[in-house]
Symmetry: C2
Subunit: 267 residues, 2 copies
């Protein structure tokens, strides 16, 4: 085992989410990153070779695939001894919906924000209905924050354009909970440590690239999708989101995205 | 009885508040209008002559004066058979505090507005404390509207500058309740009817002027002090506040304010 192999193993251990090893979710991240195109297949063998280095057993992969088929995310077929998996139309749609946010190189910088305020009591239901169909961040039982200008239809709600300059701690804590800040910080630290120890000139095999990419995308996805794009004033002072995003993409950029064809042909 | 005398009587009947004839409050309006200066006295006789035409009995005036003395608004003394009443320092301060709003010829047009939003639950107490010491209009349990820019001290509250463009019905109803709109409309109608029927060239005696001024100021005061200066969007479409203000001041301007010396010397 060369020192380069062992860096890969160290990096995998570093980047493995200490809190969340839900295999089905890792597979979703993998397909979203490397097999999101219509008809892009990943063979059962490739899937195992990408995921096994994370310490996940083939049996756990089979269980996760079963669940993903049951939930309508993935379809599988088998020719002889070789199985192939593809995202269903539903799976592709779900994956495509979050791809722009996961892979955005910077936060969506909205200059305009607005509040919707519901009447105490009965009005909160009206607000909840609006929040079901549009992207709002609740600030309280009867107050929600939305990006962009005030929409045309806000019947029954007080809609006010705002330019937040500062926010009290409870707002920052509500919109950026401690657990999310901790996830973000540990991912930042992991990515930075892995980058620092990486031997000069180390080039990944397609499979190594796939494993590391999957880990990075999986963890970043769980940070970025739980963190609404907020006015800067709403982030707590210890929020390292931008640094974490930079570290994730700095590493992703050194890990060429292998095609599914290459992955299926390996091994 | 000339037709001019009878117009005065009709106008008094018209301008008498159908809902509120609290005599102590009428006396407060009278002092605020004609004897707010330090040391300005109103004799018991003048008070009776100004207020009796409203259909208020001398006994009711005595009861009201007793209450105002007990509450620290008024001091009375008596020389021989003549009693005199003056505002106390407390009474003058209270009166002076609302004089600018009552006599303003137009609404205070604030260009800047802000919201204070409290955290659900414990935060509402914080908001209530702020509202005790500063002039805020509650929009809900945890939201209050304030005029001007955001104050420096808003610790624990989300403070947002706003430019309200439109408001839903519940906000208009809350800030401008139906009863207040009705009071405003009936005062507008009364002032307009009185102005229309007024004989050309009719000139009031100082006492007549004092009676009509007291009625007008008393009723307008009860409208304007219950109506916060709000962003225009927050007023309901049937709000006649500006027209009412115009009608009140159009009539006040034709009723010279008699000095307390003149009033005390009459009769």
């Amino acid at each position: 085992m060369t020192s380069q192999t062992s860096w890969f193993e160290t990096a995998v251990a570093e980047l493995t989410d200490p809190l969340d090893q839900r295999v089905w979710s890792i597979i979703v991240s993998l397909f979203g990153d490397m097999a999101q195109d219509r008809g892009a297949q990943i063979s059962g063998g490739a899937l195992t070779r990408i995921i096994e280095p994370m310490g996940i057993k083939p049996e756990a992969i089979r269980v996760a695939l079963h669940r993903l088929r049951k939930d309508g995310w993935i379809e599988s077929d088998r020719i002889g001894r070789v199985s192939h998996h593809v995202l269903t139309e539903f799976g592709r749609t779900q994956s495509a919906a979050v791809t722009p946010r996961i892979y955005a190189r910077g936060p969506a910088v909205d200059e305009r924000w607005h509040l919707l305020i519901a009447e105490d009591g009965s009005g909160t239901q009206l607000l909840e209905e609006v929040m079901l169909s549009r992207d709002y961040t609740p600030i309280g039982r009867n107050v929600a924050l939305g990006a962009g200008p005030i929409p045309d239809q806000t019947e029954g709600l007080l809609a006010l354009e705002i330019s937040p300059k500062r926010a009290p701690k409870w707002v920052q804590d509500r919109l950026c909970p401690h657990e999310l800040r901790a996830s973000c910080l540990t991912l930042l630290n992991a990515a930075e440590r892995a980058a620092e120890t990486r031997p000069k000139g180390w080039a990944p095999t397609p499979l190594q690239s796939a494993t590391l990419r999957t880990l990075l995308v999986h963890r970043w996805r769980r940070v970025v999708l739980r963190q609404p794009d907020l006015p800067p004033a709403f982030f707590p002072p210890d929020w390292v989101g931008p640094a974490c995003r930079d570290a994730v993409f700095r590493m992703l950029d050194t890990l060429p995205r292998p095609s599914s064809a290459v992955l299926n042909g390996t091994g």
